[in-house]
Amino acid sequence: MNKIPVPRLLPMLLPAAFALACLTVVSPALLRQVPMDEVQTFKTSFLGILLEALPFVLVGAILSSLMHLFVSEETLRRWMPKHPVPGILFACVLGLVFPVCECGMIPLIRRMIQKGMPVYMAVVFILSGPILNPVVFSATYMAFRLYPEMVYARMGLAFAVAAAIGAILYLYWKDNPLKHSLARGATQDSNGQGHTPAHGSNKLTAVFIHAADEVFEMGKYLLIGCLLTAGIQAFIAREHLADIGSGPVSAYLFMMGFAFVLSLCSTSDAFVASTFLQTFSGGSLLAFLVFGPMLDFKNMLMLLSVFRTKFVLLLTFLISALVFTGAVLVGTLWL
Protein backbone atom coordinates (compact mmCIF):
# COMPACT_ATOMS: atom_id res chain seq x y z
CA MET A 1 0.00 0.00 0.00
CA ASN A 2 1.30 3.42 -0.90
CA LYS A 3 1.55 6.33 1.37
CA ILE A 4 -1.82 7.61 2.45
CA PRO A 5 -2.02 11.14 3.82
CA VAL A 6 -2.03 10.77 7.56
CA PRO A 7 -4.39 13.13 9.38
CA ARG A 8 -2.33 15.53 11.36
CA LEU A 9 -4.44 16.04 14.41
CA LEU A 10 -1.59 16.72 16.76
CA PRO A 11 -0.52 20.08 15.28
CA MET A 12 -4.15 21.20 15.43
CA LEU A 13 -4.42 20.50 19.14
CA LEU A 14 -2.57 23.61 20.22
CA PRO A 15 -4.69 26.13 18.29
CA ALA A 16 -7.79 24.22 19.34
CA ALA A 17 -6.81 24.39 22.98
CA PHE A 18 -6.09 28.10 22.61
CA ALA A 19 -9.45 28.70 20.96
CA LEU A 20 -11.17 26.77 23.73
CA ALA A 21 -9.40 28.86 26.35
CA CYS A 22 -10.48 32.10 24.64
CA LEU A 23 -14.01 30.78 24.39
CA THR A 24 -14.16 30.01 28.09
CA VAL A 25 -13.01 33.52 28.95
CA VAL A 26 -15.45 35.36 26.70
CA SER A 27 -18.17 32.74 26.99
CA PRO A 28 -20.39 34.52 29.54
CA ALA A 29 -20.79 37.38 27.09
CA LEU A 30 -21.34 35.06 24.17
CA LEU A 31 -23.65 32.75 26.05
CA ARG A 32 -26.02 35.56 26.82
CA GLN A 33 -26.58 35.97 23.08
CA VAL A 34 -27.61 32.34 22.71
CA PRO A 35 -31.28 31.54 23.31
CA MET A 36 -30.72 29.59 26.50
CA ASP A 37 -34.21 28.14 26.81
CA GLU A 38 -33.93 26.40 23.46
CA VAL A 39 -30.44 25.15 24.16
CA GLN A 40 -31.28 23.84 27.61
CA THR A 41 -34.41 22.08 26.44
CA PHE A 42 -32.49 20.63 23.53
CA LYS A 43 -29.72 19.46 25.81
CA THR A 44 -32.07 17.89 28.33
CA SER A 45 -33.98 15.97 25.66
CA PHE A 46 -30.81 14.97 23.83
CA LEU A 47 -29.03 13.60 26.88
CA GLY A 48 -32.24 11.98 28.07
CA ILE A 49 -32.64 9.92 24.90
CA LEU A 50 -28.94 9.15 24.73
CA LEU A 51 -28.64 8.03 28.35
CA GLU A 52 -31.71 5.89 27.97
CA ALA A 53 -30.37 4.15 24.88
CA LEU A 54 -26.81 3.73 26.08
CA PRO A 55 -27.24 0.66 28.33
CA PHE A 56 -29.06 -1.15 25.57
CA VAL A 57 -26.43 -0.26 22.99
CA LEU A 58 -23.72 -1.57 25.30
CA VAL A 59 -25.55 -4.80 26.03
CA GLY A 60 -26.14 -5.29 22.31
CA ALA A 61 -22.52 -4.57 21.47
CA ILE A 62 -21.13 -6.92 24.10
CA LEU A 63 -23.53 -9.73 23.22
CA SER A 64 -22.74 -9.31 19.56
CA SER A 65 -19.06 -9.37 20.31
CA LEU A 66 -19.37 -12.50 22.48
CA MET A 67 -21.31 -14.16 19.72
CA HIS A 68 -18.69 -13.19 17.19
CA LEU A 69 -15.90 -14.77 19.18
CA PHE A 70 -17.51 -17.72 20.89
CA VAL A 71 -20.45 -18.99 18.85
CA SER A 72 -19.54 -20.78 15.64
CA GLU A 73 -21.74 -20.77 12.58
CA GLU A 74 -22.46 -24.46 12.99
CA THR A 75 -23.79 -24.01 16.50
CA LEU A 76 -26.02 -21.17 15.39
CA ARG A 77 -27.29 -23.15 12.43
CA ARG A 78 -28.17 -26.04 14.72
CA TRP A 79 -30.32 -23.72 16.87
CA MET A 80 -32.21 -22.20 13.99
CA PRO A 81 -35.36 -23.85 12.70
CA LYS A 82 -34.91 -24.88 9.07
CA HIS A 83 -38.45 -24.45 7.84
CA PRO A 84 -39.61 -20.85 7.25
CA VAL A 85 -42.90 -21.09 9.16
CA PRO A 86 -41.46 -22.22 12.49
CA GLY A 87 -38.54 -19.94 11.67
CA ILE A 88 -40.77 -16.87 11.54
CA LEU A 89 -42.66 -17.91 14.65
CA PHE A 90 -39.39 -18.56 16.44
CA ALA A 91 -38.13 -15.08 15.55
CA CYS A 92 -41.39 -13.52 16.72
CA VAL A 93 -41.19 -15.03 20.19
CA LEU A 94 -37.46 -14.41 20.53
CA GLY A 95 -38.36 -10.98 21.90
CA LEU A 96 -40.14 -12.66 24.82
CA VAL A 97 -36.95 -14.15 26.17
CA PHE A 98 -34.69 -11.37 24.97
CA PRO A 99 -36.28 -8.02 25.70
CA VAL A 100 -33.78 -5.49 24.40
CA CYS A 101 -34.63 -2.21 22.83
CA GLU A 102 -34.12 -1.81 19.08
CA CYS A 103 -30.87 0.04 19.63
CA GLY A 104 -29.29 -3.06 21.14
CA MET A 105 -30.79 -5.38 18.62
CA ILE A 106 -29.21 -4.12 15.43
CA PRO A 107 -25.54 -4.95 16.14
CA LEU A 108 -26.58 -8.35 17.41
CA ILE A 109 -28.64 -9.05 14.32
CA ARG A 110 -25.86 -8.08 12.00
CA ARG A 111 -23.61 -10.56 13.69
CA MET A 112 -26.23 -13.26 13.46
CA ILE A 113 -26.71 -12.65 9.73
CA GLN A 114 -22.97 -12.85 9.22
CA LYS A 115 -23.03 -16.14 11.07
CA GLY A 116 -25.68 -17.49 8.75
CA MET A 117 -29.04 -16.58 10.25
CA PRO A 118 -31.54 -16.32 7.40
CA VAL A 119 -32.32 -12.71 6.51
CA TYR A 120 -36.08 -13.10 6.81
CA MET A 121 -35.77 -14.39 10.37
CA ALA A 122 -33.40 -11.61 11.32
CA VAL A 123 -35.80 -8.99 9.99
CA VAL A 124 -38.77 -10.55 11.77
CA PHE A 125 -36.78 -10.36 14.98
CA ILE A 126 -35.80 -6.72 14.41
CA LEU A 127 -39.42 -5.79 13.76
CA SER A 128 -41.22 -7.82 16.40
CA GLY A 129 -38.64 -7.82 19.19
CA PRO A 130 -39.16 -4.22 20.33
CA ILE A 131 -42.94 -4.72 20.60
CA LEU A 132 -43.62 -8.36 21.41
CA ASN A 133 -41.98 -8.45 24.77
CA PRO A 134 -43.20 -8.39 28.36
CA VAL A 135 -41.76 -4.96 29.21
CA VAL A 136 -43.59 -3.24 26.36
CA PHE A 137 -46.75 -5.20 27.08
CA SER A 138 -46.92 -3.97 30.64
CA ALA A 139 -45.98 -0.40 29.68
CA THR A 140 -48.72 -0.27 27.06
CA TYR A 141 -51.17 -1.82 29.48
CA MET A 142 -50.36 0.83 32.03
CA ALA A 143 -50.74 3.69 29.57
CA PHE A 144 -54.04 2.40 28.17
CA ARG A 145 -55.55 1.12 31.37
CA LEU A 146 -58.99 2.27 30.31
CA TYR A 147 -58.63 0.74 26.94
CA PRO A 148 -57.09 -2.74 27.08
CA GLU A 149 -58.09 -3.61 23.50
CA MET A 150 -55.27 -1.33 22.44
CA VAL A 151 -52.69 -3.57 24.08
CA TYR A 152 -53.91 -6.68 22.28
CA ALA A 153 -54.36 -4.80 19.02
CA ARG A 154 -50.78 -3.54 19.28
CA MET A 155 -49.31 -6.97 19.96
CA GLY A 156 -51.48 -8.63 17.33
CA LEU A 157 -50.77 -6.13 14.57
CA ALA A 158 -47.05 -6.14 15.30
CA PHE A 159 -47.01 -9.92 15.07
CA ALA A 160 -48.99 -9.92 11.82
CA VAL A 161 -46.86 -7.22 10.16
CA ALA A 162 -43.57 -8.83 11.21
CA ALA A 163 -44.67 -12.27 10.07
CA ALA A 164 -45.97 -10.94 6.75
CA ILE A 165 -42.73 -9.09 6.03
CA GLY A 166 -40.78 -12.21 6.97
CA ALA A 167 -42.81 -14.27 4.51
CA ILE A 168 -42.39 -11.70 1.73
CA LEU A 169 -38.63 -11.56 2.25
CA TYR A 170 -38.41 -15.35 2.38
CA LEU A 171 -40.16 -15.58 -0.97
CA TYR A 172 -38.64 -12.66 -2.85
CA TRP A 173 -35.34 -11.53 -1.37
CA LYS A 174 -32.40 -13.73 -2.26
CA ASP A 175 -29.38 -11.39 -2.06
CA ASN A 176 -27.20 -10.63 0.85
CA PRO A 177 -28.71 -7.47 2.34
CA LEU A 178 -25.63 -6.50 4.32
CA LYS A 179 -23.53 -3.60 3.22
CA HIS A 180 -20.71 -4.53 0.90
CA SER A 181 -17.88 -4.01 3.34
CA LEU A 182 -19.61 -6.02 6.04
CA ALA A 183 -20.61 -8.85 3.74
CA ARG A 184 -17.00 -9.24 2.68
CA GLY A 185 -15.92 -9.53 6.28
CA ALA A 186 -18.40 -12.32 6.70
CA THR A 187 -17.15 -14.41 3.79
CA GLN A 188 -13.61 -14.08 4.97
CA ASP A 189 -14.64 -15.33 8.34
CA SER A 190 -16.56 -18.30 7.08
CA ASN A 191 -13.75 -19.42 4.83
CA GLY A 192 -11.44 -19.20 7.76
CA GLN A 193 -9.01 -17.42 5.48
CA GLY A 194 -7.72 -13.95 5.18
CA HIS A 195 -6.32 -12.07 8.03
CA THR A 196 -7.29 -13.64 11.33
CA PRO A 197 -8.18 -10.80 13.64
CA ALA A 198 -5.60 -11.30 16.33
CA HIS A 199 -6.65 -8.53 18.64
CA GLY A 200 -4.13 -9.43 21.26
CA SER A 201 -3.61 -12.87 22.59
CA ASN A 202 -6.33 -12.59 25.14
CA LYS A 203 -9.87 -13.43 24.12
CA LEU A 204 -11.38 -11.36 26.88
CA THR A 205 -9.60 -8.25 25.65
CA ALA A 206 -10.82 -9.07 22.18
CA VAL A 207 -14.44 -9.13 23.41
CA PHE A 208 -14.17 -5.58 24.65
CA ILE A 209 -12.23 -4.27 21.68
CA HIS A 210 -14.89 -5.66 19.38
CA ALA A 211 -17.63 -4.26 21.55
CA ALA A 212 -15.97 -0.84 21.42
CA ASP A 213 -15.85 -1.12 17.63
CA GLU A 214 -19.57 -1.81 17.61
CA VAL A 215 -20.28 1.08 19.94
CA PHE A 216 -18.51 3.53 17.66
CA GLU A 217 -20.01 2.02 14.53
CA MET A 218 -23.58 2.22 15.84
CA GLY A 219 -22.96 5.20 18.07
CA LYS A 220 -22.60 7.75 15.32
CA TYR A 221 -25.97 6.85 13.85
CA LEU A 222 -27.53 6.77 17.28
CA LEU A 223 -26.11 10.21 18.02
CA ILE A 224 -27.38 11.73 14.78
CA GLY A 225 -30.79 10.22 15.50
CA CYS A 226 -30.80 11.62 19.03
CA LEU A 227 -29.74 15.06 17.77
CA LEU A 228 -32.54 15.24 15.22
CA THR A 229 -35.13 13.96 17.64
CA ALA A 230 -34.10 16.34 20.39
CA GLY A 231 -34.06 19.19 17.89
CA ILE A 232 -37.61 18.47 16.84
CA GLN A 233 -38.74 18.18 20.44
CA ALA A 234 -37.08 21.43 21.45
CA PHE A 235 -37.91 23.64 18.50
CA ILE A 236 -41.26 22.54 17.12
CA ALA A 237 -44.40 22.94 19.19
CA ARG A 238 -46.55 19.87 19.36
CA GLU A 239 -49.75 21.75 18.52
CA HIS A 240 -48.31 22.77 15.16
CA LEU A 241 -47.65 19.14 14.42
CA ALA A 242 -51.08 18.06 15.56
CA ASP A 243 -52.73 20.62 13.29
CA ILE A 244 -51.44 18.76 10.27
CA GLY A 245 -53.25 15.53 10.83
CA SER A 246 -56.89 16.20 11.46
CA GLY A 247 -58.61 14.31 8.63
CA PRO A 248 -59.58 10.66 9.06
CA VAL A 249 -56.89 9.29 6.75
CA SER A 250 -54.30 11.97 7.28
CA ALA A 251 -54.50 11.14 11.00
CA TYR A 252 -53.00 7.73 10.27
CA LEU A 253 -50.25 9.17 8.11
CA PHE A 254 -49.59 11.88 10.61
CA MET A 255 -49.31 9.55 13.58
CA MET A 256 -46.92 7.31 11.66
CA GLY A 257 -44.79 10.26 10.65
CA PHE A 258 -44.91 11.50 14.21
CA ALA A 259 -43.72 8.15 15.54
CA PHE A 260 -40.89 8.20 13.00
CA VAL A 261 -39.81 11.69 13.98
CA LEU A 262 -40.05 11.29 17.74
CA SER A 263 -37.96 8.09 17.88
CA LEU A 264 -39.20 7.12 21.30
CA CYS A 265 -38.22 3.88 22.94
CA SER A 266 -40.95 1.26 22.60
CA THR A 267 -41.28 1.01 26.35
CA SER A 268 -42.38 4.60 26.70
CA ASP A 269 -44.17 5.52 23.49
CA ALA A 270 -47.50 4.11 24.66
CA PHE A 271 -47.66 6.80 27.24
CA VAL A 272 -47.12 9.57 24.73
CA ALA A 273 -49.74 7.99 22.50
CA SER A 274 -52.28 7.96 25.30
CA THR A 275 -52.02 11.72 25.64
CA PHE A 276 -53.38 11.95 22.08
CA LEU A 277 -56.52 9.96 22.82
CA GLN A 278 -58.71 13.03 22.71
CA THR A 279 -57.40 14.27 19.40
CA PHE A 280 -56.86 11.13 17.39
CA SER A 281 -58.77 7.97 16.56
CA GLY A 282 -57.86 4.64 18.14
CA GLY A 283 -56.73 3.25 14.79
CA SER A 284 -54.26 6.05 14.17
CA LEU A 285 -52.82 5.62 17.66
CA LEU A 286 -52.40 1.93 16.89
CA ALA A 287 -50.46 2.93 13.77
CA PHE A 288 -48.25 5.11 15.97
CA LEU A 289 -47.65 2.29 18.44
CA VAL A 290 -46.77 -0.32 15.86
CA PHE A 291 -44.90 1.82 13.37
CA GLY A 292 -42.67 3.69 15.81
CA PRO A 293 -40.75 0.75 17.28
CA MET A 294 -40.39 -0.86 13.86
CA LEU A 295 -39.09 2.21 12.10
CA ASP A 296 -37.95 5.60 13.28
CA PHE A 297 -35.23 8.15 12.69
CA LYS A 298 -32.79 6.64 15.10
CA ASN A 299 -33.15 3.04 14.09
CA MET A 300 -33.39 3.74 10.36
CA LEU A 301 -29.97 5.37 10.53
CA MET A 302 -28.73 2.35 12.44
CA LEU A 303 -30.26 0.01 9.85
CA LEU A 304 -28.49 1.98 7.13
CA SER A 305 -25.20 1.33 8.87
CA VAL A 306 -25.72 -2.39 8.53
CA PHE A 307 -27.92 -3.03 5.51
CA ARG A 308 -27.72 -1.83 1.95
CA THR A 309 -29.74 1.28 1.14
CA LYS A 310 -31.91 -0.64 -1.32
CA PHE A 311 -32.83 -3.16 1.32
CA VAL A 312 -33.63 -0.48 3.90
CA LEU A 313 -35.84 1.31 1.37
CA LEU A 314 -37.71 -1.89 0.61
CA LEU A 315 -38.15 -2.53 4.30
CA THR A 316 -39.38 1.03 4.85
CA PHE A 317 -41.93 0.64 2.10
CA LEU A 318 -43.17 -2.73 3.36
CA ILE A 319 -43.46 -1.58 6.96
CA SER A 320 -45.28 1.64 6.06
CA ALA A 321 -47.71 -0.05 3.71
CA LEU A 322 -48.52 -2.97 5.98
CA VAL A 323 -48.82 -0.97 9.19
CA PHE A 324 -51.04 1.58 7.47
CA THR A 325 -53.35 -1.04 5.98
CA GLY A 326 -53.41 -3.09 9.16
CA ALA A 327 -54.08 -0.13 11.42
CA VAL A 328 -56.88 1.17 9.18
CA LEU A 329 -58.47 -2.29 9.08
CA VAL A 330 -58.25 -2.88 12.81
CA GLY A 331 -59.25 0.73 13.50
CA THR A 332 -62.45 0.57 11.46
CA LEU A 333 -63.43 -2.98 12.33
CA TRP A 334 -62.57 -3.24 15.99
CA LEU A 335 -61.33 -0.23 17.86
Binding site: M1, I4, P5, V6, P7, R8, L9, D37, E38, Q40, T41, K43, T44, S45, L47, G48, I49, L50, L51, E52, L54, P55, L58, I62, A139, F144, R145, L146, Y147, P148, E149, G185, A198, G200, T205, F208, A211, A212, V215, F216, E217, K220, L223, L227, Q233, A234, F235, A237, R238, S263, L264, C265, T267, S268, F271, V272, S274, L277, Q278, G282
Partner: protein, 288 residues
Protein backbone atom coordinates in the same frame (compact mmCIF):
# COMPACT_ATOMS: atom_id res chain seq x y z
CA UNK B 1 -5.15 -1.07 4.80
CA UNK B 2 -3.11 -1.95 7.85
CA UNK B 3 -1.44 1.12 9.18
CA UNK B 4 -0.50 0.54 12.78
CA UNK B 5 -0.01 4.21 13.46
CA UNK B 6 -3.50 5.13 12.34
CA UNK B 7 -5.04 2.24 14.22
CA UNK B 8 -3.18 3.21 17.36
CA UNK B 9 -4.36 6.79 17.06
CA UNK B 10 -7.98 5.76 16.53
CA UNK B 11 -7.88 3.43 19.50
CA UNK B 12 -6.41 6.10 21.70
CA UNK B 13 -9.03 8.67 20.75
CA UNK B 14 -11.76 6.11 21.29
CA UNK B 15 -10.36 5.14 24.66
CA UNK B 16 -10.45 8.79 25.73
CA UNK B 17 -14.03 9.25 24.52
CA UNK B 18 -15.26 6.12 26.30
CA UNK B 19 -13.48 7.20 29.44
CA UNK B 20 -15.11 10.60 29.12
CA UNK B 21 -18.55 9.02 28.89
CA UNK B 22 -17.81 6.79 31.88
CA UNK B 23 -16.74 9.78 33.97
CA UNK B 24 -19.69 11.86 32.84
CA UNK B 25 -22.22 9.16 33.73
CA UNK B 26 -20.50 8.44 37.04
CA UNK B 27 -20.63 12.15 37.82
CA UNK B 28 -24.33 12.36 36.92
CA UNK B 29 -25.12 9.36 39.13
CA UNK B 30 -23.07 10.69 42.02
CA UNK B 31 -24.45 14.22 41.93
CA UNK B 32 -28.04 13.13 41.45
CA UNK B 33 -28.27 15.16 38.24
CA UNK B 34 -29.18 11.95 36.44
CA UNK B 35 -32.78 12.56 37.51
CA UNK B 36 -32.90 15.60 35.22
CA UNK B 37 -32.64 13.24 32.28
CA UNK B 38 -34.16 9.87 33.10
CA UNK B 39 -36.71 8.25 35.39
CA UNK B 40 -35.50 6.52 38.56
CA UNK B 41 -36.66 3.18 37.25
CA UNK B 42 -34.03 3.43 34.50
CA UNK B 43 -31.33 4.35 36.97
CA UNK B 44 -30.18 0.82 37.95
CA UNK B 45 -29.42 0.19 34.27
CA UNK B 46 -27.43 3.36 33.76
CA UNK B 47 -25.58 3.24 37.07
CA UNK B 48 -23.41 0.33 35.90
CA UNK B 49 -22.75 1.62 32.40
CA UNK B 50 -19.38 3.18 33.39
CA UNK B 51 -17.95 -0.27 34.25
CA UNK B 52 -18.02 -1.76 30.74
CA UNK B 53 -17.07 1.64 29.33
CA UNK B 54 -13.93 1.81 31.46
CA UNK B 55 -13.01 -1.80 30.66
CA UNK B 56 -13.37 -1.04 26.95
CA UNK B 57 -11.33 2.12 27.29
CA UNK B 58 -8.55 0.29 29.13
CA UNK B 59 -8.46 -2.51 26.55
CA UNK B 60 -8.31 0.00 23.70
CA UNK B 61 -5.60 2.05 25.35
CA UNK B 62 -3.57 -1.07 26.05
CA UNK B 63 -3.84 -2.08 22.40
CA UNK B 64 -2.89 1.37 21.24
CA UNK B 65 0.14 1.72 23.46
CA UNK B 66 1.60 -1.72 23.99
CA UNK B 67 0.41 -4.07 21.24
CA UNK B 68 2.96 -5.21 18.66
CA UNK B 69 2.29 -3.53 15.33
CA UNK B 70 1.92 -6.86 13.57
CA UNK B 71 -1.02 -7.82 15.74
CA UNK B 72 -2.98 -4.65 15.01
CA UNK B 73 -5.49 -4.98 12.26
CA UNK B 74 -8.56 -3.17 11.07
CA UNK B 75 -9.44 -5.29 8.09
CA UNK B 76 -12.80 -6.25 9.48
CA UNK B 77 -13.96 -2.72 9.89
CA UNK B 78 -11.58 -0.41 8.09
CA UNK B 79 -10.82 2.73 10.05
CA UNK B 80 -11.01 5.95 8.13
CA UNK B 81 -7.86 7.83 7.26
CA UNK B 82 -9.62 11.01 6.20
CA UNK B 83 -8.94 13.75 8.69
CA UNK B 84 -12.21 15.58 8.15
CA UNK B 85 -14.31 12.49 8.44
CA UNK B 86 -12.60 11.49 11.65
CA UNK B 87 -12.94 14.94 13.13
CA UNK B 88 -16.64 14.93 12.29
CA UNK B 89 -17.28 11.49 13.75
CA UNK B 90 -15.33 11.98 16.94
CA UNK B 91 -16.71 15.49 17.26
CA UNK B 92 -20.16 13.94 17.23
CA UNK B 93 -19.18 11.74 20.15
CA UNK B 94 -17.68 14.68 22.01
CA UNK B 95 -20.82 16.79 21.57
CA UNK B 96 -22.86 15.18 24.37
CA UNK B 97 -19.84 15.35 26.66
CA UNK B 98 -19.29 19.02 25.88
CA UNK B 99 -22.97 19.85 26.25
CA UNK B 100 -23.05 17.92 29.50
CA UNK B 101 -19.98 19.46 31.03
CA UNK B 102 -20.19 23.05 29.77
CA UNK B 103 -23.85 23.77 30.34
CA UNK B 104 -25.34 23.51 33.80
CA UNK B 105 -27.70 20.61 34.39
CA UNK B 106 -31.20 21.94 34.31
CA UNK B 107 -34.61 20.35 34.51
CA UNK B 108 -37.26 20.90 31.86
CA UNK B 109 -39.27 24.02 32.53
CA UNK B 110 -41.79 26.45 31.11
CA UNK B 111 -40.20 26.59 27.68
CA UNK B 112 -40.45 22.86 27.15
CA UNK B 113 -43.94 22.86 28.66
CA UNK B 114 -45.05 25.42 26.08
CA UNK B 115 -43.58 23.35 23.24
CA UNK B 116 -45.11 20.13 24.43
CA UNK B 117 -48.43 21.72 25.37
CA UNK B 118 -49.33 22.15 29.03
CA UNK B 119 -52.26 19.99 30.03
CA UNK B 120 -54.61 21.12 32.76
CA UNK B 121 -55.57 17.60 33.62
CA UNK B 122 -53.62 14.64 34.97
CA UNK B 123 -52.23 12.83 31.89
CA UNK B 124 -53.37 9.60 33.50
CA UNK B 125 -56.92 10.81 33.03
CA UNK B 126 -56.48 11.81 29.41
CA UNK B 127 -58.73 9.02 28.18
CA UNK B 128 -61.41 9.70 30.76
CA UNK B 129 -63.46 11.98 28.57
CA UNK B 130 -63.78 9.27 25.97
CA UNK B 131 -65.39 6.85 28.37
CA UNK B 132 -68.63 6.79 26.42
CA UNK B 133 -66.78 5.79 23.31
CA UNK B 134 -64.60 3.14 24.88
CA UNK B 135 -66.87 0.89 26.83
CA UNK B 136 -64.00 -0.87 28.47
CA UNK B 137 -64.12 -2.37 31.94
CA UNK B 138 -62.60 0.13 34.22
CA UNK B 139 -60.14 -1.18 36.79
CA UNK B 140 -58.40 2.17 36.80
CA UNK B 141 -61.37 4.04 38.19
CA UNK B 142 -61.43 1.56 41.04
CA UNK B 143 -57.86 2.48 41.87
CA UNK B 144 -58.68 6.19 41.76
CA UNK B 145 -61.77 5.65 43.88
CA UNK B 146 -59.74 3.81 46.50
CA UNK B 147 -57.18 6.58 46.49
CA UNK B 148 -59.91 9.22 46.75
CA UNK B 149 -61.30 7.43 49.81
CA UNK B 150 -57.93 7.71 51.49
CA UNK B 151 -57.46 11.37 50.51
CA UNK B 152 -60.90 12.57 51.56
CA UNK B 153 -60.57 12.32 55.37
CA UNK B 154 -57.24 14.18 55.44
CA UNK B 155 -57.49 17.67 57.02
CA UNK B 156 -55.06 18.97 54.39
CA UNK B 157 -54.59 16.83 51.32
CA UNK B 158 -50.88 16.63 50.75
CA UNK B 159 -50.09 15.83 47.09
CA UNK B 160 -47.08 13.53 47.46
CA UNK B 161 -44.56 13.67 44.61
CA UNK B 162 -44.47 9.85 44.53
CA UNK B 163 -48.12 9.67 43.48
CA UNK B 164 -48.57 13.18 42.11
CA UNK B 165 -50.39 12.42 38.89
CA UNK B 166 -52.53 9.76 40.55
CA UNK B 167 -53.60 12.09 43.36
CA UNK B 168 -54.49 14.92 40.98
CA UNK B 169 -56.28 12.38 38.82
CA UNK B 170 -58.34 11.05 41.71
CA UNK B 171 -59.33 14.55 42.83
CA UNK B 172 -60.25 15.48 39.27
CA UNK B 173 -62.35 12.39 38.81
CA UNK B 174 -64.37 13.09 41.96
CA UNK B 175 -64.00 16.86 41.83
CA UNK B 176 -67.44 17.69 43.13
CA UNK B 177 -66.84 15.71 46.31
CA UNK B 178 -63.54 17.49 46.88
CA UNK B 179 -64.91 21.01 46.45
CA UNK B 180 -63.79 23.22 49.32
CA UNK B 181 -61.19 20.82 50.67
CA UNK B 182 -57.75 22.02 51.61
CA UNK B 183 -54.80 20.92 49.52
CA UNK B 184 -51.05 21.41 49.51
CA UNK B 185 -48.84 20.77 46.50
CA UNK B 186 -45.63 21.94 44.87
CA UNK B 187 -44.45 22.56 41.33
CA UNK B 188 -42.91 25.12 38.99
CA UNK B 189 -44.52 28.37 37.87
CA UNK B 190 -45.88 28.36 34.34
CA UNK B 191 -47.54 31.42 32.87
CA UNK B 192 -49.29 31.36 29.55
CA UNK B 193 -51.95 33.84 28.44
CA UNK B 194 -53.96 31.16 26.69
CA UNK B 195 -54.63 29.28 29.90
CA UNK B 196 -55.00 31.89 32.59
CA UNK B 197 -56.58 35.24 33.45
CA UNK B 198 -54.18 38.15 33.59
CA UNK B 199 -52.24 38.61 36.73
CA UNK B 200 -54.41 36.79 39.22
CA UNK B 201 -53.59 33.31 38.11
CA UNK B 202 -50.77 31.01 37.18
CA UNK B 203 -50.30 27.33 36.51
CA UNK B 204 -48.39 25.15 38.97
CA UNK B 205 -46.85 22.54 36.71
CA UNK B 206 -44.98 19.28 36.78
CA UNK B 207 -43.51 17.03 34.12
CA UNK B 208 -44.66 13.43 34.12
CA UNK B 209 -41.80 11.26 32.87
CA UNK B 210 -41.94 7.58 32.02
CA UNK B 211 -38.43 6.63 30.90
CA UNK B 212 -36.56 9.74 29.88
CA UNK B 213 -37.12 13.44 29.20
CA UNK B 214 -38.08 12.73 25.60
CA UNK B 215 -41.36 11.17 26.67
CA UNK B 216 -42.26 13.74 29.30
CA UNK B 217 -45.69 15.33 29.36
CA UNK B 218 -46.24 18.58 31.23
CA UNK B 219 -49.41 19.05 33.25
CA UNK B 220 -50.54 21.38 35.96
CA UNK B 221 -53.27 22.95 38.04
CA UNK B 222 -54.49 26.54 37.78
CA UNK B 223 -53.83 28.52 40.95
CA UNK B 224 -56.14 31.49 41.47
CA UNK B 225 -56.04 34.38 43.85
CA UNK B 226 -58.12 37.39 44.85
CA UNK B 227 -55.29 39.84 44.56
CA UNK B 228 -52.92 40.18 41.63
CA UNK B 229 -49.95 37.91 42.13
CA UNK B 230 -46.72 39.70 41.48
CA UNK B 231 -43.08 38.85 41.63
CA UNK B 232 -43.41 35.29 40.45
CA UNK B 233 -40.42 34.24 38.39
CA UNK B 234 -40.94 31.85 35.53
CA UNK B 235 -39.89 28.31 36.54
CA UNK B 236 -39.64 29.25 40.22
CA UNK B 237 -40.53 26.40 42.56
CA UNK B 238 -43.45 27.03 44.86
CA UNK B 239 -45.45 25.25 47.49
CA UNK B 240 -49.09 26.24 47.35
CA UNK B 241 -51.70 25.71 50.02
CA UNK B 242 -55.28 26.44 49.13
CA UNK B 243 -58.88 25.40 48.56
CA UNK B 244 -59.99 23.10 45.74
CA UNK B 245 -62.48 24.80 43.40
CA UNK B 246 -63.73 22.88 40.39
CA UNK B 247 -64.50 25.16 37.44
CA UNK B 248 -65.58 24.88 33.87
CA UNK B 249 -63.35 26.60 31.36
CA UNK B 250 -63.46 26.42 27.61
CA UNK B 251 -66.05 23.70 27.91
CA UNK B 252 -63.92 21.49 30.13
CA UNK B 253 -64.35 20.92 33.80
CA UNK B 254 -61.13 21.13 35.72
CA UNK B 255 -59.90 21.72 39.22
CA UNK B 256 -58.41 25.03 40.25
CA UNK B 257 -56.90 25.92 43.58
CA UNK B 258 -57.64 29.15 45.37
CA UNK B 259 -54.33 30.02 46.97
CA UNK B 260 -54.16 30.86 50.65
CA UNK B 261 -50.43 30.63 51.10
CA UNK B 262 -47.59 30.64 48.58
CA UNK B 263 -44.06 29.85 49.62
CA UNK B 264 -40.90 29.56 47.58
CA UNK B 265 -39.13 26.23 47.94
CA UNK B 266 -35.88 24.69 46.78
CA UNK B 267 -36.10 22.73 43.54
CA UNK B 268 -36.65 19.10 44.59
CA UNK B 269 -33.90 16.57 43.93
CA UNK B 270 -36.26 14.72 41.59
CA UNK B 271 -38.04 17.53 39.78
CA UNK B 272 -40.25 15.28 37.66
CA UNK B 273 -43.04 12.99 38.75
CA UNK B 274 -43.50 9.41 37.59
CA UNK B 275 -46.55 7.23 37.12
CA UNK B 276 -46.93 4.58 39.74
CA UNK B 277 -48.14 1.06 39.16
CA UNK B 278 -49.88 0.85 42.51
CA UNK B 279 -50.65 4.24 44.01
CA UNK B 280 -52.66 2.74 46.89
CA UNK B 281 -49.70 0.71 48.07
CA UNK B 282 -47.47 3.79 47.92
CA UNK B 283 -50.00 5.86 49.81
CA UNK B 284 -50.26 3.23 52.54
CA UNK B 285 -46.49 2.98 52.77
CA UNK B 286 -46.05 6.75 53.11
CA UNK B 287 -48.77 7.11 55.72
CA UNK B 288 -47.93 4.07 57.80
Amino acid sequence: MNQPLIIRRHYLIRAFILLGFALFIAYLTRSGALYFYIAPRMEPLIRYVPIPLVVMAVCLAYQALFQRSAALCDCERPLSVSGWKNTAVYGLFLLPLLLGSLLPNQELGSFAAAKKGMSLSSPLLASEQLEEIFKAPDPYNTEFAALAQRLYPEPIIEVKPEIFSETIGAIELFQDKFRGKKIRLSGFVYQNEDLIKESKEFVLGRFLVLCCTADSSPFGVIITSDQPISGLAKDAWLEVEGIIEPQTRQGKSMITIKAQRLSAIERPATPYVYPNGDSIQVWDDINR
